[in-house]
Symmetry: C2
Subunit: 236 residues, 2 copies
Amino acid sequence: MIDISFSGKTRRVGLVRVMTQEEQRLIDEQGRLIERLFPAIKVTSKCIENQPRGIYDAETERIAEPKIVRVAKDLEREGGEAVIISCAADPALGIAREELRIPVIGTGSATAAVAVSLGQAIGVIGIGEGVPEPMAEILGDRLVSYEKIEGVQTALDLHLESAKEQALQAVKNLVSRNRVEVVAFGCTGLSTLDVDDPIQREFGVYTVNPVIASGIQVLYALMRKRVGGQGEDHTE
Amino acid sequence: MIDISFSGKTRRVGLVRVMTQEEQRLIDEQGRLIERLFPAIKVTSKCIENQPRGIYDAETERIAEPKIVRVAKDLEREGGEAVIISCAADPALGIAREELRIPVIGTGSATAAVAVSLGQAIGVIGIGEGVPEPMAEILGDRLVSYEKIEGVQTALDLHLESAKEQALQAVKNLVSRNRVEVVAFGCTGLSTLDVDDPIQREFGVYTVNPVIASGIQVLYALMRKRVGGQGEDHTE
């Protein structure tokens, strides 16, 4: 845990979940992880409507975009000082940055960013057919290999009993065939699967957890807010 | 300031300066910035030998590499839990990672990483002929433009009276010709020039300060240490 505070103040961060869920306890799952690691950050999470299977292809991403911007704006209006869009594909990130006055962090770019800070040989595990585009762009030649987790079609399937075992198997495949220093999670849903420690212990690699990576990048954004044109005060 | 502690413990981080300086007060300048923002981190800084003008081209980078690895190993031996190589070209980063057991962060990749987390249109100011390679690789298409600071040949010249004004002029040139959301510093020496606030205030862009960016990425590395093969305990 990092006991963190901003000169004693609590900072409020909004988090957009791209999978529709009914139970607030589930919607809050990722926000709780950030709050546990950075106790001075208070996270408010909201999910988009009518996408119970989340984002898992180009079409579901397209449909989600305006909903994400709407939720992000709500979170800003309700006092958020930064917003995280919690999806490794960084859906609607550019639009949200244009429409909001506060910093907007996408978990895809934040995850890739932490990965390239930690090592030169990076593997990714995920649920789609390949590495989400914003991650692939940032990883560039540092991306060594991608491994799809078996038996998982959407982030919803990560709640299956077998998902944790399958994720570990994917890492095993990845590291047995390639020399990697870092395993980045290519799906935000993996952040709360509790596989970080087992992977690090068993395979001797760094993991990059998208939710924690986003929390880390939010710290920087909160320290060095955009000012002037965006009308924000610089706070440190 | 971020008041940070790791469950109450102080964490020790080593910092390698690639410019030879005699006065410990100057050698410690960057470390003090990290300690001021993250009071639970204690930084020990050491510089390499016989390079009073630092690294400013391929040849000076080549000569510096074995010295950097030597200093990094010293810092590890003396109890460092992570090491920062403070140069935007990330010299000797790969070798140092192979030879040390603790996380090694390069300020170049850390700076580019924070930049891509904050925005899609990134400008860089620096002292060389172009963007340092590891930064350019990570920024990819997000790199909009580079602006060389006039009148500055080496990081040493950043101590000149005129350097601050020239750095602001470089940003002015950059933002007048391009739409940029983020201005990243392509030289670690700019970190202690105190231009972050004026740039943010005047031009309404985020700045990415290499030393602070490295401090942020070190946080992640300290939370999620590599274990197993590297014999490190996971600590959180």
